[in-house]
Amino acid sequence: MSQSASQSACSASLPPPNMSAEQAALVEKHPCFSKGAHQFARMHLAVAPACNIQCNYCNRKFDCSNETRPGVSSSLLSPAAAVQRFAKVKQRIPETQVVGIAGPGDPLANPNATLATLKAVGQHDDEVHLCVSTNGLELEDQLPKLLEIGVKHLTITINCIDAAIGEQIYAWVYFNGRRLRGKHAAQTLIDRQLKGLKLAIEAGMLVKVNTVLIPGINDWHIAELAEELQRYGAFVHNVMPLISDPAHGTYFGLMGQRGPTDEELAQARSDAGVSMAQMTHCQQCRADAVGKLGEQVNVDEIPDVVPAELTVAVASRSGEYIDQHFGYAKSFDLYRIGKAGVEALPARDIEAYCRGQNECDEDEAQLRMSRALHTLEGVDVLLCSRIGLPPRQALQEAGISVNTELALKATPEALEQVRQQLLEKSAQGSCAKECG
């Protein structure tokens, strides 16, 4: 994960005098923007693995601060899984008031995943504050959508406003279909960052700027940078020390670039403090951080949120057994399963997802998949006899769990089995709550 993203969440003590009442309220509850908000907790959802730039303090092969290699699946939390995670954490830590997306890549280089996740979290809980940390490259393009889903807190990592410095910090920038390098890359990034900063502030967002302090490269430039940030109206500035342990395998780490001493960091913060409120309570959290600042919570130890009811779709050819391949189902029988029992709902028709091997042109398959997803809206579990891997993935990404283990069982028997599992889980869930 990039250092900038990992260090993204956190804040200041002195609010600027010209702040509106609405903005003051935004500051108050965000643990990363306000010292007083530490009774509130925040959660980062790691749904954004792709990045569009390479910073010399980041090694894409490692999960920066802890060196675990981001495996294909662990770094890819689907939006549906992310929302589940949020629901789970919110139940255990009700003070979770802030949900952010900070990586492990750049959230706005993964716009669909980022936007879908934030939107779903917002729908689950309309009080929660949504925030995004970005390098700013795609901010201008994505800003309207961020505003539409109610994102009001933004963190942009801006390390310099001078391309001659930037070319020492950024190895490359992917923009408009090309990998740019050198000064041109840095200038493109800086221009886009400042444009995005301006537009976000004009739109009423509360913007924090992160700067990684790199001795000999941007330390002498921090005061000038802070002055510019103030001119634009950034809310708070977070000057963070470069972390350059060679074991992390970053360019800076391997090339012997050292991080700042405590004195150098204090000096840079006081230089920047002439123009910008400085953030002092940052704990430099990770892209998947959960909890109050300075406190770690292991999400996997929190029991899953067990719903009271499940909506189950059944693919059945005979009408009596779980005997239909998902791809050939023309309709699904729907049931609501709860503690009390099983209730049949009106069946739903779809155009069959797959019309046989030869006709399975991929674009058309995609179209049919989206129809299938539409038909299955609100469904929690799908029971069918068989299903291909791509549609299984697509359904799971949409939050529908697919079960083929009950294939060829009689439908009532299968539904009863699902109900028993639900009952068992809720018994465990409440026990964990009482005993844990």
Binding site: N52, K61, V72, L76, R178, E362
Partner: protein, 94 residues
């Protein structure tokens, strides 16, 4: 004509997001390029998009096995240093 993804891939999903042909697929084994769909980006003006955005050296190769982003071309880390990391990585995984 088609590019391929090697075992160096870290699964960052970037190539999948930018491929104009929707040729990059992810399955249980990781990322791969569908050879029927990939036209090496011949139909558009920019260089192969997957190769332009991929952050990992040697993760994408052409059909002769040549890396689009050879060692040392992306991070700026000189090859010897890079190789040392790869060796320690291997050791760690053994």
């Amino acid at each position: 004509m088609a590019l391929r993804i090697t075992r160096s891939c870290i699964g960052c999903n970037a190539c999948k997001l930018v491929c104009p042909q929707k040729a990059v697929v992810r399955d249980a084994h990781g990322y791969a390029i569908n050879a029927h769909r990939c036209d090496e980006c011949a139909s558009q003006p920019n260089p192969p998009q997957c190769g332009e955005i991929c952050p990992i050296e040697c993760a994408i190769v052409d059909n002769e096995g040549r890396a689009l982003n050879p060692l040392g071309s992306l991070t700026g880390i000189p090859c010897e240093q890079e190789q040392v990391i790869q060796l320690t990585e291997l050791a760690g995984h053994a």
